[in-house]
Symmetry: C2
Subunit: 212 residues, 2 copies
Amino acid sequence: MAIKAENGRKNDPQRTQENILEVATEEFSTHGLAGGRVDAIAERTRTSKRMIYYYFGSKEGLYLAVLERSYRKIRTLEADLQLSNLEPEEALRVLISTTFDHDEAHPDFVRLVSIENIHHAAHMLRSEAIRDLNVSVIETIAGILERGVSQRVFTRQADPIDIHMMISAFCFFRVSNRYTFGSIFRRDLSEPTTIERHRTMIADAVIGYLKA
Amino acid sequence: MAIKAENGRKNDPQRTQENILEVATEEFSTHGLAGGRVDAIAERTRTSKRMIYYYFGSKEGLYLAVLERSYRKIRTLEADLQLSNLEPEEALRVLISTTFDHDEAHPDFVRLVSIENIHHAAHMLRSEAIRDLNVSVIETIAGILERGVSQRVFTRQADPIDIHMMISAFCFFRVSNRYTFGSIFRRDLSEPTTIERHRTMIADAVIGYLKA
DNA sequence: TAAAATGTACGAACTGGTACGTATGTCAAG
DNA sequence: CTTGACATACGTACCAGTTCGTACATTTTA
């Protein structure tokens, strides 16, 4: 048994799973669910394909885990904002900037959501975990709008979900459609000056809408 | 040769190609490029898989043809608008409504664009045809904005491409992210009352932004 | 010693693409 | 107006490579 190399394997389930998820996130967000290859993921992992099936059962199981992990990461980020002690308009600007910066910084997440939409959100529907996460955003927005209206800074009675959609739409689209948009209009949406301009723009538009 | 059935085959290249493209559009927009199956397309066609390769060379060739066909259809629609005799604000509202209604009526197109973005717009880059189409929209918007500013209805000097993006983002997102958004917030974005509200909302927001 | 974690090798089904053969249309020559 | 020859249009059956998933064996850990 002299051959038995000095590989010194250590069992570390958590690290193994996390490692798989990291690699899988990249694979799926780049190639989609059908386009992503389990073998390709396994190869770039510290471990083997066997482990993928050991922990996640199937390709779809892995994909779902990747999706959940991505959503969980945002929740943590969003929940840390302390907006109730800010003036309504300022609070909204901070929230918008946060969403904007998040999408800009996490194209992987944006792509996964796009992919999930192509599949009619079939996987998300099966996961209650994900659904619960975004509810808090709506509550936050609702609070800001109420304060704004009662303080007469906002004149329009708007639906919180609509406002959230307006914000998401702009922030998301910039990232999700970066390539086709950039290709058609020869404009690089990830240029610093463009990013700055757009960040202000979406905030101005939303607040302008609420004050109209 | 009494067996030789009454199939009465007619050679009709144009109809055959169009038929393939129709079916392929549905297949690719539903399952993506990697997820779409050539065999599945062939089955639902009046013709056979052989013909797909005869006319389009490869799966990717077929996909590109589908993409080009979708873009060509919009151009025709957009080009028919006569906006120069309308007041700037009214012209913009008409343009926004048209974009809104188009995306709402053509989820296939929206999905194909999403898919193309997942592939970094790699196929679109190889097709000059597509790029040329959307330039006219920007010229239209630029004209409206100029007239609006000189007539003092719009106070803000805005970039036409930015405005186009703002409009596209909202109209596109409503359709592209319909499923994840609907799943999280239990809201059906294709409900008539919701559609009406959103159509007005995006127009108000854009115009409000230009007047701020 | 048993359960959890991991590695290796392999198989069965799927899937893009093609080889081969047949039918249809066209057009010029008879 | 018929014939025949050639190009285009089409159908069937099949192949070869890929890809998800697993059987089996082994090591680590408690």
